[in-house]
């Protein structure tokens, strides 16, 4: 382990650029912290803090020396590995009607992501299990995943919507990163988690960190866990949820839910995507496109002229029972890593932890 002073952060970016990575990092855009290509450490959201609540996200100025005194923005790592929209293959039709098909190669380049949160690393590990499933690994996901270099930052300033401590996924990053930073007032404890991370770290020629710095950092993340007031009732709600498919509570939530799909867009583990055909105007080519879909959309459950889940009650139930129930069967754990984004970005402020608590208490309204 070593210590990287705040003013040396740029040298880390330079080393990563020298290793061939484009850097992507958190930046303030349109009033939120988003991941975007990062040319310099000066673009990082230094001095910002996020205030989050159900249906609420605001940035305020606080802690002028800190780069990472915020929890998260609407994006996780998902858009970097699972493209919101891309071409999967292309059909060509000759004038005689003969067809040919060509796969569209994945577009990817080595990318270093700065400021990855523990919840999002846990979510990435879950996406890996889905998209790299042995029976049919997704080559688009695989190409982008292979190209990632992840610089995690342990969380010291959770938002009011965070509940990663209760899902067991944060605030400390414990695996899945190449480098991990713990931010103190004057810099970062930096540690490698992979050979690639080790190689980058060796080029920085840093001083070693002190025992006092380590204990300050440990206290900060322990405090971050304690500050979290939201929680899931249990890490395994599978049997409870499948036993409550006819609970009156689903209808109660449906009275508030707009079925807009914001929650599935910001969720770091929601993986549904639709295949669509987009014929080109030339009459010769047709693109087979895939793009993010949501189980809240009407088309998601369409079969031969009917919609299996025609009501919001059934769509919200599908989402929640899948995320906290079906994932256990499919991937061996809950699909929620406690990032809290679905609470923040829900336009009517539906709080997943509150709905789970009601169901856990027997489905009686609040």
């Amino acid at each position: 382990m070593a210590f990287l002073l705040h003013h040396q952060l740029q040298s880390l970016l330079d080393v990563l650029a020298g290793e061939g990575y484009q850097c992507v990092g958190p930046q303030v855009q349109d009033g939120a912290i988003v991941y975007a290509p990062l040319a310099s450490a000066a673009e990082l959201p230094r001095g910002y803090r996020d205030q989050q609540g159900p249906g609420e996200y605001r940035l305020v100025r606080e802690n002028p020396q800190r780069f990472f005194a915020w929890a998260n923005g609407p994006q996780a790592l998902k858009p970097l590995v699972f493209a919101p929209r891309e071409s999967a293959w292309q059909a060509r039709r000759e004038s005689g009607g003969a067809l040919s098909f060509a796969p569209v190669a994945p577009q990817s380049r080595p990318t270093a992501v700065i400021g990855v949160r523990a919840c999002d690393l846990a979510a990435l590990a879950l996406l890996d299990r889905h998209f790299l499933h042995e029976s049919s690994p997704d080559r688009y996901y695989a190409a982008r995943r292979d190209d990632l270099f992840l610089v995690a930052v342990n969380c010291t300033h959770p938002a009011a919507t965070c509940f990663c401590a209760s899902t067991g996924d944060g605030p400390d990053a414990t695996s899945g990163y190449d480098l991990v930073l713990s931010e103190l007032d004057d810099g970062f404890i930096i540690e490698a988690g992979s050979n690639a991370g080790q190689r980058a770290l060796a080029q920085l020629q840093l001083d070693t960190d002190s025992k006092a710095q380590r204990s300050t950092a440990a206290a900060a993340t322990a405090n971050a866990a304690q500050q979290q007031s939201r929680c899931v009732p249990s890490r395994n709600m599978r049997n409870l949820l499948f036993a409550n498919l006819e609970s009156p509570h689903w209808e109660e939530v449906a009275q508030r839910c707009l079925a807009c799909g914001n929650c599935t867009s910001v969720c770091p583990t929601c993986f549904c995507h639709a295949h669509r055909e987009e014929p080109a105007i030339d009459g010769v080519h047709s693109h087979h496109v895939r793009e993010w879909d949501s189980c809240f959309s009407q088309g998601h459950s369409y079969i031969h002229g009917l919609t299996v889940r025609s009501h919001t009650r059934e769509r919200y139930r599908k989402w929640l029972v899948h995320k906290f129930g079906g994932w256990h069967d499919q991937f061996g754990r809950s699909g929620c890593t406690g990032c809290g984004r679905c609470i923040t970005w829900c336009p009517v402020g539906i709080d997943v932890t509150a709905e789970l608590a009601v169901l856990n208490a027997g489905g009686q309204g609040k």
Partner: protein, 276 residues
Amino acid sequence: MSGQVPCRARIVRRIQESPTIFTLGIELLESNQRKRFSFTPGQFNMVYLYGAGEVPISIVSDPEDETMLDHTIRVVGRVTRGLALLKEGDEAGIRGPFGRGWPLDAVHGKDVLIITGGLGCAPVISVINYILRRRADYGRLTILQGVKHSEDLIWRQRYERWIEQPDIDVRLAADVGTGNWPWYIGRVTALLDGVEIDAQRTIVMMCGPELMMARAVGSLASKGIPGGAIWMSMERNMHCGNGLCGHCQLGPKFVCREGPVFQYPEIESLLAIRGV
């Protein structure tokens, strides 16, 4: 990687089965893909129409027929309306085969009871033909097919031919019958009452509306057939065929990869629950 891009294919045969149902006999054009393609009855293909997209269609032809793959399709939406316009010689695309088909090994030497509703007969037709060609390998074969309206029945001549055969018990039912319907009028599940069943040696295969299948499961249980002897083909929205896109989920099951054919206990708690 299997089935991520369609194979070139050509329509070699088109049969109009009913006013809204047709069968496309499709041949893969690349000989190496044709040779490599093998399927189990009950599996499905994604059938591609240029410029319109894909639909999941079960393969109804004989798995040992290396020349052609038959797909029986009902006109319901944008893509199937377009597929209905294809003529012999036109080209299309095929991705597949996908999913788990019928448990042919488990059926060997057993009595087979097939219960289907509407176009649910299509995913099972291939297994019926498979058994008929190896008739001596199986015990009693009983086929119960139900339709909403008597005019919805496809493959009428085929059913009539089977009814003539001494070694198959075939019974048909229509919820609503016209003058030209000599068979039972009512629910297909009611036909179960008159069928002779040896509960110890019967394997059941079902495909059709979930409520019909749930009702049949109840009758079969009262006849002493264990749940593990019942197999059913389920239907959900499908886009990718590889268990990745998420549309086909039935509870925690990816129907396109783990199904479409399930052993009843695998989906017992999810069958016929509205909106699951």
